[in-house]
Amino acid sequence: MKKVTFRHRWLPYLLVAPQIAITLVFFIWPASQALYQSVLRQDAFGLKTEFVGLANFAKLFNDPLYLESFVTTVTYSAMVAGLSMGVALVLAVMADRVVRQATTYRTLLIWPYAVAPAVAGVLWWFLFNPTVGIAAYALDAMGYDWNHYQDGGDAMMLIVIAAAWRQVSYNFLFFLAGLQAIPRSLTEAAAIDGAGPLKRFWTIQLPLLSPTAFFLLVVNVVYAFFETFGIVHATTSGGPGNDTVILVYKVWRDAFEGLNLGSSAAQSVILMGIVIALTAIQFRYIERKVEY
């Protein structure tokens, strides 16, 4: 490999400066603020500030509801990632086989991604409204009494569907691109050897898609963990009971509704730790099963 040398001593620093500035302003600074806030107790207006050490963290870990929220979040993220990737894969495989009108289908499938999470939340909230929602009406006709205001399971399904629906588009794009990158000659050769469509999918396409799938798994888990509080806020507000309080929603609610910045900052520090750990685990263990 050819080594690049700069003649001026400061040029390399200058070139990398924008990236460093962005990282400082949008990541390091807010993250350090969160760390700082997490050891303080403040009234809402910031008039009185007191250093409380790790009391905010201690309080959280003594709160059974906060611990329950972990279970809720893990269940929720697994379901969102599973559902959105599964559906996207099926759609991508079907779209890959379509020859006519392919662009139209693709555009339609990508559309939901342009919808903001809160809007998606309201949309699904309306469809599943137990009194006036058309989806709830259909379920009722099939003999299922849907009421996400009262039934925690229904509420969980609602936020999973709302969160996954939007992500299907994103996943679809990547799966489709991944499928189209697989050389035709491979599948054709397998077909000549007598492998049926299912066999070809399992033994050729799916393994070759594994890098894409791995990437999407990371992205989807991060999405479910961090970007879906708008959906929860617009559909269930964490209810019924505490059944749909995912961690990031609790961070948002405690800070912006409860005005309890100390606890909220402590929670976001914990979340930051989780996402670092999660990414590390994914790259350390799951990536081994990926064939590039």
């Binding site: 910031g46 009194t131 205001y149 009262q150 964490g238 009971g241 509704e257 409860g258 005005l259 309890n260």
Partner: protein
Amino acid sequence: MKQTFSATAIAALMALGASPVAAQTEIQFWHAMGGALGEKVEEIATGFNESQDEFKVVPIYKGNYTETMTAAIAAFRAGEQPHIVQVFEVGTATMMAAEGAVKPVHALMEDADIDWNADAYLPAVRSYYSTPEGELLSLPFNSSTPVLWYNADLLEQAGIEEVPSTWDEMFAAGEALQQIGHDCAFSFGWQSWVMIENYLAWHNEPIGTKQNGFAGLDTELVIDESESLTNLLQRIADSTEDGTFEYGGRRGDSLSLFTSGECAMWMNSSAYYASIKDQAEFAFGQTMLPLNTEAAEEPQNSIIGGATLWVLEGHDDSEYQGVAEFFDYMSRPEVQADWHQSSGYVPITTAAYELSKEQGFYKEEPGTDTAIKQLSLNEPTANSRGLRFGNFVQIRDIINEELEDLWAGNQSAAEALENAADRGNDLLREFEDANS
């Protein structure tokens, strides 16, 4: 584009014509009134702006109550706070505790040397926002109280001649309705406000110690100590089984249960008048909240919800003069009566109530005075003047969570109230620590 153009044009005209206009002092007013109510707020501001030429009030819509309050607090922390901000009743303790951030209304009016009488406001409204010494802290603006809405057509079909006035009659109505094949008798929204805070005030029982928090920060919730409340909530939870009660969400979400005819009665704010009138395709009415005869023989008075206007510190005295004059303008009977009649909120001054009577509003729209009658039924007691607990926005969330676990059959009413009180007390202690 068009808007930008006309804005520029106006700016240019003002610059041309204008030295006297340029001297106007601007007053920022952040509020949470969307839609038609927001337009009405604009109208009030315009009315004031046209009444004099020294000050200009600029109302800005900031989202729902929570969003408006947190936006103002964030702005204060950044030193960019508005002069006036509309804060809902549960934010009162937070605002009150913020000494140095808030300018009390009574002081504002005194400094501005305006002849203004706080006694013009209804006792039930005034006492909620006053110090224990009776000094008014924020300007009452939009207040409401929960009432019992009923579907007159359905009750008639079921042969119920009088609208229920006690909880026994509510359940009896449920049976009568089920005999004609109608499941849901009643539902309610804002359950902490309607079924706990107001229930206790209505039956003259305390919500918390220290005069419901009015007399100090070291207060504790006692909602789990009311036997009649525990029994009633258990009875309601049991009645979900045959569908007599149906739960439909935390805030106003269950409105559709009532307007679609699914539930015959609905307990929620009197301020739903406009929505119900707009949506219901049946004869409806509003009446006072039902009484639990196990707890009291006569109702006491209900307590308010809604919001008041708070003045934030950090501006020039000349600007506060304008705020005071604007508040004085808003307190006029004709402004208040008009706001009450178009919004469904209660008339908050006695004069506005009298004026509305004179104008024949209650004859034209029967039942619209239920809320105010309910609020002024008796002189408020320590149990019924309102509540002032810190972190109450979060405590309401807790109460919602525990009650939802009750309606779902996961716990008993006694457990729900006990959990809510315990978890709420933790937050009260946290607030006490942060503010003392």
